[in-house]
């Protein structure tokens, strides 16, 4: 599985654009382990990247997507050595594909949000959908997050399956009343009578000098809400899979995307597939240490992993994907094998996902740990505008390498 690595650090960091050659594809096909779990056929396609892209991949909010960076689907993988078919696309296209397939499949699925219709979505995830499905199925809302999130919830209670987009996850702070009280709780307070099969999605995370308010990580704020599930996508493959799974789920699901990951390119299967909402993803099996991560930090971790491998370490990297609930089986198996855990996240230090995960691991796998769980999170600082400062608020690969060396002494 190859994906283009985006520049994770500021100026001066090496731009590593080569595929991850340390992954053994055969180890990544995990059979479904629970009788209840949805059958997720996981195809890992070993496509190779044929082009290298410079910094033009980086999406700036104010500018439209650079069309030149978009590779056409399917046929251009001339240098692909894979025997399995598939098509290459960018992460935002994968999200769109997933969404479109679900909208084709079930006429009750609809989209609502700011600029999702005629504008095609501020990150182009809903591009073309309004033309195809109409203005009511892809609804351009006025700027009233609380009300349109609530409207989505009311629509879900009465039989529709809305996908509510927050133009930036941070805007959903305005919808907190609806997300907490209604989205999370109504199924319970109604005694199970009403289901709320909504998907709330949008880009979050620290971008490229977007300023404090557009660089928020809302997963920490929402994680305590009972009754919701939270997932974070990180590759085109799991983006499409999680989108489809989230739409099909009867539970309210919050799908966290990342502003800087929308232009990741990958070859994904032509066949239909979904990713299990509750499962974590094994990115790189290893023996020495378990590194748990999600979303964009996965790429910082993989970058650090290359350095670590050269230094002789063998890290096991798991993309937890499911932020709530945690997949304690995959995580636990890893801890039992390596006995050391490092959590790398972009969330804030205080009360973040990492904090909860640390607690869960200590509680469940204390006996298997040879060292305290270490958690690398962003600084508890409003994300500064200045590039240098911004770089220091987020975990960088060098810090990950140091942490691993420290833990593995």
């Amino acid at each position: 599985m190859s994906a283009i690595l985006l520049q994770g650090a500021g100026a001066g960091a090496a731009t590593a654009l080569s595929p991850f050659n340390s992954i053994d594809p055969s180890k990544l096909v995990v059979p479904s382990r629970s009788s209840l779990s949805v059958r997720s056929k996981r195809y890992v396609v070993a496509g190779s990247d044929s082009k290298s892209f410079g910094s033009s991949l980086i999406v700036r909010r104010s500018e439209p997507l650079i069309p030149n960076a978009v590779s056409a689907k399917a046929d251009t993988a001339a240098s692909s050595t894979s025997s399995k078919p598939g098509h290459e696309l960018l992460l935002f296209e994968a999200l769109q594909e997933g969404l479109e397939e679900e909208m084709d499949r079930d006429p009750h699925v609809c989209v609502m949000g700011e600029d999702v219709g005629h504008y095609g979505g501020s990150y182009k995830v809903t591009k073309g959908l309004a033309d195809k499905f109409g203005d009511l199925r892809v609804l351009d809302t006025p700027i009233c997050e609380n009300a349109f999130t609530g409207m989505g919830i009311g629509a879900a209670m009465t039989g529709l399956r809305p996908v509510i987009e927050g133009m930036n996850m941070g805007f959903l702070l305005l919808a907190f009343n609806q997300i907490s009280n209604n989205c999370g709780m109504l199924h319970y307070t109604s005694g199970g009578q009403f289901t709320i099969p909504v998907v709330i999605r949008g880009p979050g995370g620290v971008g490229r000098q977007l300023g404090a308010e557009h660089s928020q990580r809302l997963e920490s704020y929402f994680q305590s809400i009972p009754g919701i599930q939270m997932v974070a996508c990180s590759t085109p493959y799991n983006a499409k899979g999680l989108m489809k799974a989230a739409i099909r789920s009867e539970n309210p699901v919050i799908l966290f995307e990342h502003v800087l990951l929308y232009n990741l390119k990958e070859t994904i299967p032509d066949e239909e597939y979904i990713c299990n909402l509750e499962e974590a993803e094994m990115v790189r099996p290893g023996e020495h240490i378990t590194i748990l991560t999600y979303s964009r930090m996965r790429y910082h971790v993989m970058q650090a992993a290359k350095t670590l491998v050269n230094k002789g370490y063998d890290p096991e990297v798991i993309d937890i994907r499911s932020l709530k609930p945690f997949d304690l089986y995959t995580i636990g198996n890893s801890v039992k094998k390596t006995h050391r855990v490092l959590i790398v996240e972009e969330c804030m230090r205080t009360g973040g996902i990492g904090a909860s995960l640390t607690a869960a691991i200590n509680e469940n796998f204390h006996d298997y740990l040879d060292a305290p769980v270490m958690c690398l999170s962003s600084q508890d600082v409003p994300t500064p505008y200045a590039g240098t400062l911004e770089e220091w608020t987020v975990v960088q690969p060098a810090q990950i390498v140091t942490a691993v060396e420290q833990l593995c002494q």
């Binding site: 109604s190 099969p197 539970n251 089986y329």
Partner: protein, 432 residues
């Protein structure tokens, strides 16, 4: 007949309360007569056109006057009465049910059978009955924490509501919701919300569903949604956001303001820059109507118009009902701030007494018939209490059941199985 809209169109029927008194120093009057008619009218507007443009401000800002097409029809067939005997008895029974039920709640609360915050509806019955008795089973109602009577009017059984208040398994929400969260999927009672204003977007969503079914799924859907909320809510952002969206998308929704002048201890006049809430409708492009909420027949006439509008696809209506709660905000409220004279004035306009008088004076019912209804309701409420008393409390097993519609949402435990597969899950003792 006295309508809320056009006092000068009075005809032979005697109004229930005589002329409306000024209850505030500011004259909250009926919508002043102007040349523009109710936007839902079948008569086309000749004065202000084009009407089609949604942003035609001049048209929108003019106060709207309801055209009583329905009333006129009734007048010609029914000898100037607003209701038939059957309808009259139905309305009476519903209001008596509301009143008796709430009185019983007060008793039960003070006897320690129900707890927490309980908000009673005494005095406001005309609004609930006036609107909800016009709805079908598939129409939706969204309310606030003062929702017992809305649930009852919508058809939820007294037993289910009382049991819910007692926190028993047989309650409409299995005891998990409580006084402020009355839900019923069967009767399309969409709650029951504790925070003011948070139900209005949900109602907007239900109305959106109706429109979606009609226009996207091509189903035969004429369902409307009625959202009830108070004067305090009308200063909340969600209210305005939803007025905008409802008018913008022409959703089949009716926004009903139960203006009882008080938000706990905050007088509406002290909290609101322009206390005439009905005026806020035209600002968003929908008719705003003011009606005497202590008069069930007036409310019903307004409701008919508004519901018909919505069913025809002409969009939302904002209805402000001037009403009053005879009790405090909740059973925990000592109700010391309100003036005794004000209370007395509204007590004299008790909607149940008024309807009774109307029915008897217009020979629609005899005293004995009404008494028998009252007796029947008393027995019904008593029986509801007995039923609730006898019902079991929820067991431990119920603790985790309804957190997720799909319990896989609790995730995968360390042993590799989904937590919901753990036998302790059904016992309510699983680690989640």
């Amino acid at each position: 007949m006295a309508t809320a809209f056009a006092p000068t169109k009075l005809t032979a029927t005697v109004p229930l309360h005589g002329s409306q008194e000024n209850r505030l120093l500011l004259p909250i009057r009926l919508a002043p007569l102007s040349s523009s008619s109710f936007l839902g009218s079948t008569r086309s507007l000749t004065v202000n056109s084009p009407r089609r443009l949604n942003h035609s401000n001049a048209t929108r800002r003019s106060p709207v006057v309801a055209v009583q097409e329905v009333v006129k029809e009734k007048q010609s067939t029914n000898n100037s009465l607003l209701i038939t005997k059957e309808e009259g008895l139905e309305l009476y029974e519903d209001m008596i049910l509301g009143r008796s039920f709430e009185d019983m709640c007060a008793q039960m609360y003070y006897r320690g059978k129900m707890f927490g915050f309980v908000h009673l509806y005494n005095g406001q019955e005309a609004v609930s009955t006036g609107f909800i008795k016009l709805l079908t089973k598939s129409d939706s109602v969204v309310s606030t924490y003062r929702d017992h009577v809305h649930a009852l009017s919508k058809g939820v059984s007294a037993r289910a509501v009382m049991s819910e208040l007692f926190g028993k398994v047989t309650g409409c929400c299995r005891g998990q919701g409580g006084s402020m969260h009355m839900f019923s999927k069967e009767h399309n009672m969409l709650g029951g919300f504790a925070f003011i204003g948070e139900g209005i977007p949900v109602a907007t969503g239900a109305a959106f569903s109706s429109k979606y079914r009609r226009e996207v799924l091509k189903q035969d859907c004429e369902d409307v949604t009625v959202a009830f909320f108070g004067d305090g809510t009308c200063n909340n952002g969600q209210f305005y956001e939803c007025l905008n969206m409802a008018a913008l998308y022409k959703l089949p929704i009716i926004f009903v303001v139960e203006n009882n002048l008080w938000a706990i201890g905050m007088s509406h006049l002290r909290a609101t820059s322009d206390p005439e809430i009905w005026k806020k409708g035209p600002a968003f492009g929908m008719p705003g109507v003011h009606v005497d909420g202590m008069d069930v027949l007036k409310v019903r006439e307004v409701a008919k118009e508004a519901v018909t509008r919505a069913r025809r696809g002409e969009g939302p209506t904002l209805v402000e009902c001037e009403t009053y709660r005879f009790r405090g905000h909740s059973l925990a409220d000592p109700d010391e701030l309100r003036d005794a004279a004000e209370k007395a004035k509204y007590a004299a306009r008790d909607p149940i007494v008024a309807l009774k008088k109307y029915l008897i004076e217009n020979k629609l019912a005899k005293e004995a018939e009404l008494k028998s209804i009252e007796k029947k309701i008393d027995e019904l409420v008593e029986e509801a209490v007995e039923f609730a008393d006898a019902s079991p409390q929820p067991g431990r097993s119920q603790l985790l059941e309804n957190v997720f519609a799909d319990p896989k949402g609790f995730g995968i435990g360390p042993d590799g199985r989904y937590r919901c597969e753990d036998p302790k899950f059904t016992e309510g003792t699983a680690q989640v």
